[in-house]
């Protein structure tokens, strides 16, 4: 008998029930009031059932609320029997939604939690209040998720979405409005909250959407008296104002190095990065940006700045190569308000001679060496004029056509037209009497001369 009397008392102290607001537990007591819930709205309340005794409690089951409007929405464990160790807890959520065709008034239900300890009971209460009518005005539209879609808005500007909350009932209602989520959505600070709306009256307010750099899609929630409406919007990154691609010189020739920079007509709204690309109409691997040995360099602009850096520098150097054609500079990797493509043309030119020398050090041979380039790839025709020590021409100029040699050399050439040419003339007699030579090289753009090369 003693055992039978003591046992229920010990069980009764094992489980305790708390409401939970996400941070704190509050003892639930004998009843819990959900407060006012608008018709058509729902309200969830989280509860903790906690084992405060020294030993485990078995077969803990959260019962189904007995009463209209209340449901067991979730159990953070099993719907079936659960075991709660000492000091362990089980979370569950009770939802109140007004039943269909329900009347305004107070609703109640009983909730029972059973286990091998004494059962816990809780009375659930909620007051169903008239729901306000919420209207959204253009240019905002109804989103597919049942929420409100703001018009897509350029970063740097603001969109407004106008709402009204009407009370079509015969009694005043209290309206609480909140906006949570991305900070790009802002409710007006002047809005009285909560506000009282008289019968057949309405209040209006506007939610402001201001997108920021770095985020494209935004989400928030408008809550009016417990009714939630997703808010969605997209921020549009404005295209970069069309940069001007500027060169240290607009007149360029082969075998030159120049610098390129970029200027903006207006500051960039957001930080932007992209690529500056260099393309060539022909084949010449020596046409490249020198920093990085590449034809593509990154560029960037800071938010609010009109200064463009290329590969981290104010400008970039590039080579014009040794092939006639068109160098094209383009931008990629970011939207641009216009086409910034800029071209430079390298015109065909006579052969450029970088270095030339003549040698008579090999017996029976006169050797001539020329380093240069032919940006037309048509070299071959040459003329050699020899002079004696007195400066008199020796015989007539000797014509030679090395076109086949150059064609073979240039076939498949990918690195430009630079060449090192060695020409040898077999000679009989005293070769030291030949003092100088002048070489004329001709391509499709005209002739070039070496000047007098002294044999040494």
């Amino acid at each position: 008998m003693r055992l039978l009397l003591l046992f229920p008392l010990a069980l009764h102290a094992q489980l305790a029930l708390f409401s939970f607001d996400g941070s704190n537990d509050t003892p639930a007591g004998a009843s819990y009031n959900f407060g006012a819930v608008d018709a058509g709205a729902l309200k969830d309340v989280r509860f903790h059932v906690k084992n405060i005794g020294p030993s485990a409690v078995n077969r803990v089951v959260i019962g189904t609320p007995q009463g209209a409007g209340f449901t067991l929405a979730a159990v953070n464990g099993s719907l079936g029997p659960n075991t709660l160790a000492s000091q362990a807890e089980l979370e569950f959520t009770i939802r109140f939604t007004a039943p269909a065709q329900s009347a305004i008034g107070t609703y109640s239900a009983s909730l029972q939690i059973t286990s091998d300890a004494a059962p816990l009971s809780l009375i659930l209460l909620a007051s169903l209040t008239p729901a306000p009518i919420i209207t959204v005005f253009p240019a905002c539209t109804h989103a597919s998720n049942g929420g409100v879609a703001f018009p897509s808005t350029a970063i740097g500007s603001t969109a407004l979405c106008n709402f009204s909350v009407q009370n079509q009932n015969s009694q005043p209602i209290t309206v609480a409005i909140s906006v949570t989520g991305d900070a790009a959505f802002q409710a007006p600070a002047s809005l009285a909250n909560p506000a009282t709306v008289k019968p057949n009256d309405a209040i209006s307010f506007a939610i402001q959407f201001t997108p920021v750099c770095g985020t494209l899609n935004y989400n928030a929630t408008l809550t009016v008296n417990g009714q939630s409406f997703p808010l969605i919007a997209a921020g549009l990154t404005p295209p970069l104002p069309k940069p001007s691609i500027v060169f240290d010189s607009t007149k360029i020739s082969s075998a030159e190095q120049h610098s390129v920079s970029m200027t903006l007509p207006a500051a960039a709204v957001c930080a932007v990065s992209g690529n500056l690309n260099l393309a060539f109409s022909g084949t010449d691997a020596s046409i490249l940006f020198l920093s990085g040995n590449t034809r593509t360099l990154p560029f960037s602009v800071a938010a609010g700045s009109a200064q463009v850096t290329i590969n981290g520098q104010p400008s970039a150097s590039f080579q014009t190569g040794t092939t006639a054609g068109t160098l094209t500079f383009t931008l990629s990797g970011t939207p641009i308000n216009g086409d910034a493509t800029t071209t430079l043309t390298v015109a065909p030119a006579p052969i450029t001679i970088e270095a030339a020398s003549a040698s008579n050090q090999r017996l029976g041979e006169l050797d001539i060496q020329i380093v240069g380039f032919d940006n037309t790839y048509s070299a071959g025709a040459m003329s050699f004029t020899f002079f004696d020590a007195a400066g008199k021409t020796i015989g007539s100029p000797i014509a030679a056509d090395f076109t086949p040699n150059f064609r073979t050399f240039y076939s498949g050439a990918a690195v430009g037209s630079a060449f090192l040419m060695r020409v040898s003339f077999p000679v009989q007699g005293d070769q030291t009497q030949v003092a100088k030579v002048q070489v004329t090289l001709t391509n499709s753009a005209g002739p070039s001369q070496t000047g007098n090369l002294v044999f040494q």
Binding site: S254, A255, E256, Q257, A285, S286, L288, L290, S291, G292, N293, T294, S317, Q319, T320, G321, T322, T352, E354, A355, L366, V371, G372, F373, F384, F386, G395, I398, A400, F402, N405, F406, T408, F409, V415, G416, A418, F419, L420, M421, R422, V423, S424, F425, P426, V427, Q428, G429, D430, Q431, Q433, V434
Partner: protein
């Protein structure tokens, strides 16, 4: 008077890609540089992990962490060396290496008596000349500290050329000819590297330039990404 005449119909031409020399890129890779002034391309890596390098007309020598690598068109040789920077000089038939306080000729030790920090050396007219930094400035000396000249305003690297020298002076690079005439380039030099016949590489931060000695012109070299 001796007779001579040409066999013009037998004249023949040989064509190849011109080569400016060898550069040491910012990642420590020795690479051949092809082309003409201001229009060059980089060739494939010749030696990796290079800390010091110099090239003459036909021969190059490079110092890696623990070896000296020398090469020409026909062969490459490697020999162990202390972990220290190296300077190089070339004669017709030998490569001279100054490393960790020792001067060697083709691997054989050469006696040397020079006071100060040796910045550069050259082999000219049968004798060595050194650029040395001392408390009282930078000097060009021969063995046993025989002074040849002072480089009054040299504050940076020095390289001794045939018929002149190149040195860093503040944010300028100065080419001084044997007749004392000078050309100044607005480039802050961190290091000079003999690229081969007639060209010197100037390292300046992450950029590299080539100075063509004959024309006293400078152009930028393509650097590694």
């Amino acid at each position: 008077m001796k007779l001579f005449f040409f066999l013009s119909i037998c004249a023949w031409a040989q064509l190849e890609q011109p080569r400016i020399g060898v550069m040491l890129d910012s990642s420590g890779v020795a690479r051949p540089i092809f082309g003409v002034s201001a229009s060059v391309t980089r060739g494939d890596a010749l030696v990796n992990g290079v800390t010091s390098m110099a090239c003459a007309r036909r021969t190059c020598a490079a110092k890696t962490a623990h070896a000296i690598v020398t090469w020409d068109a026909s062969r490459q040789t490697t020999q162990p060396a202390p972990d220290a920077p190296a300077l190089f000089a070339f004669s017709k038939d030998a490569v001279y290496i100054y490393c960790a306080g020792q001067l060697t000729r083709n691997g054989e030790s050469v006696p040397l008596n020079v006071t100060g920090e040796i910045l550069a050396m050259r082999f000219a007219a049968g004798a060595f000349e050194f650029a040395v930094r001392r408390d009282d400035g930078v000097w060009i000396v021969r063995d046993n500290d025989v002074a040849i000249a002072a480089i009054a305003d040299a504050t940076g690297p020095v390289i001794l050329l045939r018929g002149g020298l190149l040195f860093g002076s503040g944010d300028e690079t100065v080419l001084r000819r044997a007749d004392a005439s000078e050309v100044r380039f607005p480039i802050h030099a961190d290091a000079f590297i003999a690229m081969g016949e007639g060209y010197v590489q100037i390292r300046s931060g992450s950029a590299s330039y080539a100075l063509r000695i004959a024309t006293e012109t400078v152009f930028q070299l393509p650097e590694a990404p």
